[in-house]
Symmetry: C2
Subunit: 194 residues, 2 copies
Amino acid sequence: MTVEDKKRGRPQKDKQALSKELIINVAKQMMLNNKKVPSIRAISTALNVDAMALYYYFKNKSVLLEEITTSLISDIYEPTGSDDWESELIELSKSYLTILYKYDGLLKTLLSMSSDSPADVFIGRFSFIVNPLSLEKSQEKAFLDLLVDYLHGFSMALACNSTQALALDDIEPPLALLFQGVVLQKKTVANGCR
Amino acid sequence: MTVEDKKRGRPQKDKQALSKELIINVAKQMMLNNKKVPSIRAISTALNVDAMALYYYFKNKSVLLEEITTSLISDIYEPTGSDDWESELIELSKSYLTILYKYDGLLKTLLSMSSDSPADVFIGRFSFIVNPLSLEKSQEKAFLDLLVDYLHGFSMALACNSTQALALDDIEPPLALLFQGVVLQKKTVANGCR
DNA sequence: TTTTTAATTCTACGATGTAGAATAGTTTTG
DNA sequence: CAAAACTATTCTACATCGTAGAATTAAAAA
């Protein structure tokens, strides 16, 4: 009875607002501001709505987080089609890391999602970029696995090392090593050097 | 007033038990059994002690987790000194992953610890194993960074993919790629192949 | 013997996720 | 047009969590 005293029941048709999109957007904004996953109550407060209202739109919190995660896909770097695959991969990696960094706490959600996750999009774009290398299937898989798990690990390290500032460029030497490995492997096979 | 009704105050000298070590050991065992970080209350119940008793030994839960993490160091593979650095690194990596897998939820703790963490021990043993390669400082760092972050990422993937069984061997192709990169890089420099 | 210190339990608070019911509009149906 | 069904919301309540602070009791020191 302080100031607010919301009326129960379905709201009148005029100014209802509240929708999946609104909830997701507000939650995303809170993640950006507070650098952590907000509580259901915090989101609902920001929306000026009862906490349980969110459960009309999402079965539970983890579904909400999954949908937030899915909605991040559009932020992932879109390869230009240039044949400078190394630069393209670096660009892709950095944009992926930036997302994981900005929306801290979503990595676990992302990894436990079966599909529609930014990881899948990452994989698709990786394949596209790396296609001109015409690597063997198994080689490409090893390359990809090493890369994505590396990025996930790096992103966790970023998130935990609160002392350090974001040092995205730190991925370059390891990536360079990785790329050289792939390149040299191909060249070696090609001209018989050993 | 069910059955138990513990006496308050300092216990008599005879059968006190309770110590840092006991708490840590019980907590570790619970992590192994339940595959997750136990709550303070759960640990104290297992110890048949009030929850707040644990706070006499640890400032807060995260300190307890840090000490658990530190205590895992002894489980990390000790290199034999063999000059087969690739096998040694694989062995080291697998033992590290096994720990991270068995004690799920400790990765975050580990990453935010400033020292005495298994990661530091890992780094030390890595350096030892890789020493005969006499890599340049920056090369060795890139190698290490790529490896540890890869392992951390892989371990997260393991922990999240609850459907799959532990597939430690899946790290071998990526590691092979990584190793080949390092090796070929050296050979190339050595005999001028390009 | 008194005082201090050590080791414990009790009570309680503020988060958190969320189940279940009450409520009040809106839409559909007879 | 009234009744029934559905939709979208608030309210109340619970279990769990970490942990602050005080009370309590035994042991150790003075």
